[in-house]
Subunit: 363 residues, 4 copies
Amino acid sequence: MASSFGSLFRITTWGESHGGGVGVVIDGCPPRLPISLEAIQAELDRRRPGQSKITTQRKESDTVRILSGVNEDGLSLGTPISLLVMNEDQRSNDYNEMKDKYRPSHADFAYDQKFGIRAWQGGGRSSARETIGRVAAGAVAKMLLASLGVEVISFVERVHSISTEIDPLSVTIEDVESNIVRCPDLAAANQMIELIEKIRKEGNSIGGTIFTVAKGVPAGWGEPVFDKLEADLGKAILSLPACKGIEFGGGFGMTHLTGLEANDHYYSVANDTEIPDVATRTNHSGGIQGGISNGMPILIRSAFKPTATVLREQPTVDNQHQDTTLTGRGRHDPCVLPRAVPMVDAMVALVLADHALRQRALG
Amino acid sequence: MASSFGSLFRITTWGESHGGGVGVVIDGCPPRLPISLEAIQAELDRRRPGQSKITTQRKESDTVRILSGVNEDGLSLGTPISLLVMNEDQRSNDYNEMKDKYRPSHADFAYDQKFGIRAWQGGGRSSARETIGRVAAGAVAKMLLASLGVEVISFVERVHSISTEIDPLSVTIEDVESNIVRCPDLAAANQMIELIEKIRKEGNSIGGTIFTVAKGVPAGWGEPVFDKLEADLGKAILSLPACKGIEFGGGFGMTHLTGLEANDHYYSVANDTEIPDVATRTNHSGGIQGGISNGMPILIRSAFKPTATVLREQPTVDNQHQDTTLTGRGRHDPCVLPRAVPMVDAMVALVLADHALRQRALG
Amino acid sequence: MASSFGSLFRITTWGESHGGGVGVVIDGCPPRLPISLEAIQAELDRRRPGQSKITTQRKESDTVRILSGVNEDGLSLGTPISLLVMNEDQRSNDYNEMKDKYRPSHADFAYDQKFGIRAWQGGGRSSARETIGRVAAGAVAKMLLASLGVEVISFVERVHSISTEIDPLSVTIEDVESNIVRCPDLAAANQMIELIEKIRKEGNSIGGTIFTVAKGVPAGWGEPVFDKLEADLGKAILSLPACKGIEFGGGFGMTHLTGLEANDHYYSVANDTEIPDVATRTNHSGGIQGGISNGMPILIRSAFKPTATVLREQPTVDNQHQDTTLTGRGRHDPCVLPRAVPMVDAMVALVLADHALRQRALG
Amino acid sequence: MASSFGSLFRITTWGESHGGGVGVVIDGCPPRLPISLEAIQAELDRRRPGQSKITTQRKESDTVRILSGVNEDGLSLGTPISLLVMNEDQRSNDYNEMKDKYRPSHADFAYDQKFGIRAWQGGGRSSARETIGRVAAGAVAKMLLASLGVEVISFVERVHSISTEIDPLSVTIEDVESNIVRCPDLAAANQMIELIEKIRKEGNSIGGTIFTVAKGVPAGWGEPVFDKLEADLGKAILSLPACKGIEFGGGFGMTHLTGLEANDHYYSVANDTEIPDVATRTNHSGGIQGGISNGMPILIRSAFKPTATVLREQPTVDNQHQDTTLTGRGRHDPCVLPRAVPMVDAMVALVLADHALRQRALG
C-alpha cells in the first residue's frame, strides 16, 4: 500500500539511496503498447543528478533496464513491467555525522520515530533517489497517454522571486528543455540560473513553483467523490519530496473572486458532428468540474520548498534527543525545481493513465 | 474504489441528493470504542443546511441512525458501522431546467460525458449532500482520535477579502462555534457575515480559505512515499466539493524563503524521561517531514472557490450542446465556508485515524 | 477491506443479525444498466428463512429497498447502489444462554478472542443474515452478466449420502426452482427433502455439496497470477458461512488421472468467421486454464458442512473458559444447502462481473 | 492488483520465464525484523528445478539478491524489500513450435484471448518460474511468523494412487526434507519416487495432494466476512499453478457427517492463568470457525493436477484456430508436487503474516 500508487495502472516503487538499486514494478499497463526504453531513459536523464551546473554534482548515470513485461518486439505483454536502476556513486562517508544527528527539516527524526530504525546513508528511502521509479513508470504512462492524444507538460514557473508570465498553453516540451532550469521563458530562465548559482555558492537553497498543463484529456475522466481528479492529482504531486502546496485552475486566487467572476461559461464549438463539442470561455476550473475532466486543459500549480540541505551549521538534536549542531556537507541541490519538473510530469501522467483505464472499464 | 476512502479505517459513502437517502459504511473501526450518536448528530448539525441566515435555506434535519456495528451499550463491535440519513426536503421542480441545461462551473456536463446519464435533480451525487456520510464517519474518527489524545480544529480564516490573523494554535472548538460563520475572531466574523449577506442579496457568491490544526499527533504517523501525510490529507480535502487548493505549513509562502530561513531547527524539550521529547523552533514544515508527522501541530490551509450557483442568467449549453442561457433559481449557499468547516474536520480526522491504525500495525 | 469484496465491481456489506438491518453498497456498477428491484427481491426470496418446511422457521420478509444509484427510470447511474433490508423477527431471548457460553463449532469463541466484544444475539455478524447483502448485490451482478450473455446456475448436488448424477450443463434455473431443496433431479430431491425432515426432527443437521455452472463466459477473463479465476472464485465461495471445500473442473478427482488422461484437447469449431471458435473435447479444466477462462463452461463444486446448531446438549466452555454444557434451542436450519444455492450463485456472479470489467479496462 | 497479494504484508511479483529475471517486492514487512538471505535462498532451493531426478532437469541456480529494505545489519527497515533472481538457462528453441500452437491444458490459448499477445517462450508469466517471487517473499513471511511462534509445514500426502496416513501434527520440517518427494512417510515416499520415475520415462505426468499444518496461530486471526481465513488461504493456494481444489479441516469428507458428529467441542485447558486456554476435542473445523482462528492447528489439503506438459503427440489448434497436433518436447516435471510444497508453504505464510498485522492494527 504505502509504496504502491494507482488502481488500474498501478506502480510499486522500491529502493533506498544507498542500497543495491532502485526500481519500480508497473502492473496494469495494457498489452500491445510499444514501450521505448530510450524514452524511459530520456525521462530519467531529465531527473538525473549531475545533469547541469545548478543541480547536485552526485554522478550517477541512472541507466535503466527492463526486466519483464515487454517482449522482444518492444511491445507490452499486459504483465508487470519491472524497471531497474542499480546504485553507483555512494559516498557513505559524507553521511557519517547523520548517523547520530537529525538534519533539520529532513525526514531523519520522523523516520526514527516511525520505524525505530533508519537507513541513515543518504536518507535511505526519503532520498530523492526514490523518485527514479516514479519517473520511469511515468514515462510508460506517457506512452499510453500519447496513444490517447494526451500530453503532459510541466515547467518551472517561479524560482524564489523570479517568475515568468508566459502563457502555459503555448509551452512546448522543446521550450522546457531549451535551458537547464526548465523555464520556457529564456529571459526569466537566465535570471533563475544566475540566482541558483549564487545561492549554491552561499551554501543556501531556494524553492519555487512548477506549472503543469495536461492537454487533450477528454471530458469524463475522474470520479465523483473521493477520487476526484483534483484529489488524485493532488495526492500524486504532494507525495513528491519537498512539495508543500498545490492548486488547480484559479486555485487560491479564485477565492478573491465572486461566483459571477469565477464561473466558466460553456459554449458550443461549431464542428461537423451532430452533437458539437463544448468548451468554456474561461478556465478557472482548471479543466476539472465536480472532480471530472470537462475537456479543457488541466492546469496545476505546485509549490516546492527550498531544499532542506544547506551547507551551514544549524542547531538540532541527536538520536538521544540532546541538543547539538550539524553542518551540512557534500553535494546538494541548491534548488530542486529543475529536477522536479520530470517528477511532476510523471505523477500527473500516472494519475491520468489510471483514470483513462478506469473510464474504459465503465464501458 | 471511487466511493471508498482510507485503508484500515475505511469508509464507503453512497447517496444522491434526491434519492432515498445518503449514508456511509465505516469498516475497520476498532472494537470497544464508545460511539456517541449525539456526537455524530452534532457534527451533522454543523454541516446541515438551513442552520443560519448565511447558509442555504433548504430545510433538512439530517437525523442520523446507527444501523449496525455498535452494541446496546454503545460500544463498537469491530464490524462495519452503517450510518443512514433519509432525504426529506426535495423540491425537484426547482431543478427542471437543469434536466436539459448544464449549470456553469457545476458537474452536470462532466457527469453526462462520463456516465451518459445523470441524476439531474439537485446535482445527484455531486450535491454537497454527499458529504453527510463523510461528516458522520469523521465524527467516529474523531472519537478514535480523542482516545489517542488527538484533536482536529478547522475554522474559517478568510472570506473573500476579509481575513483573520488569529494564532491558529490558540483556537478552541468553542471559539469556532461562537458564531455562524465559524471564524474564531469575532470582529472578522461579523464583517464576514455582513459580506455574505450582502452577496446573498445580490444573488452572487464568494469563497475563501479554511485553516486546520491537528494537535497531539505523535511523531511517526504517515508513510515515506505515496501515502505521505501531505498526500493523503491533500487528497482528502481536495476531494471536497469546491476545494481548489491546499498547502501545508509554510506552503506557497515558503517558496519565497531560503533554506536557511525555512528550516525548522530541532531542540530538546526537558522532561523527566531518559530520552527527552523533541520539538522544532519554527513550524514551516507544518508538523510533517518526509511525509511523516514530527510531533508538532499539523497546519493546513485549504481554498474553497465561490459557490457555482448564482441567481443570475448566465450563458451555457444544453445537452445537445447548443448555446443557451440558464438562470439560477431556488436556494443556495452564497458562501460554502461555514458548512465546509466540519467537512474539512471530518476528512482530516479520517486520514489521521487511518494512519493511527496503520502505525499500530507496524508493531 | 474486511467487509468489501471485488476490485472494480465492488461491494461492501454491513449488518448484524439483531441490529437495525443489513445491507450492501455496490460501487462500480456501470451506468445505464436496467436494475430490477423485483429480480433483487426474487433472489432474496430464494435465500429467505422460513421459505419452506426444511429451512429455519425464523420469519422475515427480507424486503429490500434501493436507496441510491438508480434513477426514476430504473437505470443505474454509475454511482453507488445502496440496498437495505430492515431486521424484523428478533427473538433475543432465544440467545440468552449464548451470552456467556460458546456454541460448539460456531464463531462465538473466535469472535471474542478477536474483538474482545461480541454481538451475542443471533451470532451478530457471523449470522447467515450477513449474506443478504451478498445475495442482493449478486442479483445486480447477474443483471450485468446477463447483458453480456453470461448465466450462473447453482444447484444442490448432494445432501449427506443422497446425490444426483444429473448432467450439470443440462440444468436450468427452472429445474433448480422446481423443488424446495433446489436439486434439479426430482427423484433425488424428494429423498433429500425426506432426509432433511428426518434430521430436523432429531434436532441434528447435515451438509452436502453444491454444483455451479457458469455458461457464456468468453475466453480471456481472469488474471495470470494471484487473481486467477479459481483463486477469486475460491475465495468468494469459501467466504460463505459453513463452506469448507471447493474444487474446479476435475478437482480432487483429477489427481487420480495422468496428464494424458486429464489434458483437455482443443479443436476448431466450424463457423463462418475467419478465425473459428475453439473448444475442448473434455473439460477437466473446468473452463479455466492458467487462471483465465477458455470459453468452456466454468464448473465448480463446493462443500458445506452440517449446520453447527443442533438441538441437543453439548459440552463446551463459557466466557471464563470454564467447562460447561449448552443445549441448542429455537429455530435452526437442519441443512443449509437449499438456502446456500442463491448465495453461491451470488458470489460467482460477483466475481465474474468484476472480471468482466477488469477485462474491459484492458481495452 | 493482479500481481499483488495481501493487504498489510503485501507482495508484488513480476517476471516472465524467459525475460531478464523474476522477482518480488514485499511492502509492509515490519521494521527491525532479522532477515536471513540464507533462509530465503534455502526456500528457493526447495523450489528450484533440477534439484533431484524427479523434477525437471532445467538447470537454474535461482540465486536471490536483496536489493532494498534491509540494512547492513540484516534488519528490515520497514520499507519495501526487493528480491531479484536473474534468469539463466533459457533454451527458447525448445519452444519454437509453441509460438503458433497452443499446448493442451496450458494457458497459451487463454493468454492470447486475454491479451492479444503472448510471451510464448517457456510460457512467459504462466510459467512456474513466476512462483520464485512468492517463495522468496514467503520465506520472509515465515521469519515474521517465527517471531510470533507460528510454524507452517506442508508435505506431499498423496501422489496419484500412493498416499500416506501419517499424523500431520507429528510431521517436522526435517521429516519433509528427508527425501526428494517431500513425503514424511519414508515407505510411501519411496513408492512415490518410483512411480514418478516410471511416469517420467513414459513421458506422462501425475498429480496428487499436499497437506499443510499451521501451528501456533493464536485464536483471533482472520476476518468475519469476505476475508475469512479459509477464503484468504483458499485464494492463496488456488492461485498456484496446477491447483484445482482445496479443503479445510474435515472438508469434503465432513459433508458425510451429521452436525452431532462434526461439531468440535470446546474444553478448558488447565493452566496457571486466571482465564485458562481453550481447545477443542476434535478439529473438524481445521482451526478456523466463522473465518477466524480458534487456536487449534490450521489444517489444509490442496489438490494439484497432473502436469499439463506430456512428451507425446496430442491434438490441438494453432493460433489461427485450425486443428493440428503438438508433441511435447524438452524438460518437464512429471509431477509438480515435490516443488509445490514450498510454494504452498509460502502462500500460507503470506496469508498468516498479513492477518497477524491486521489483527495488530485492531489494537
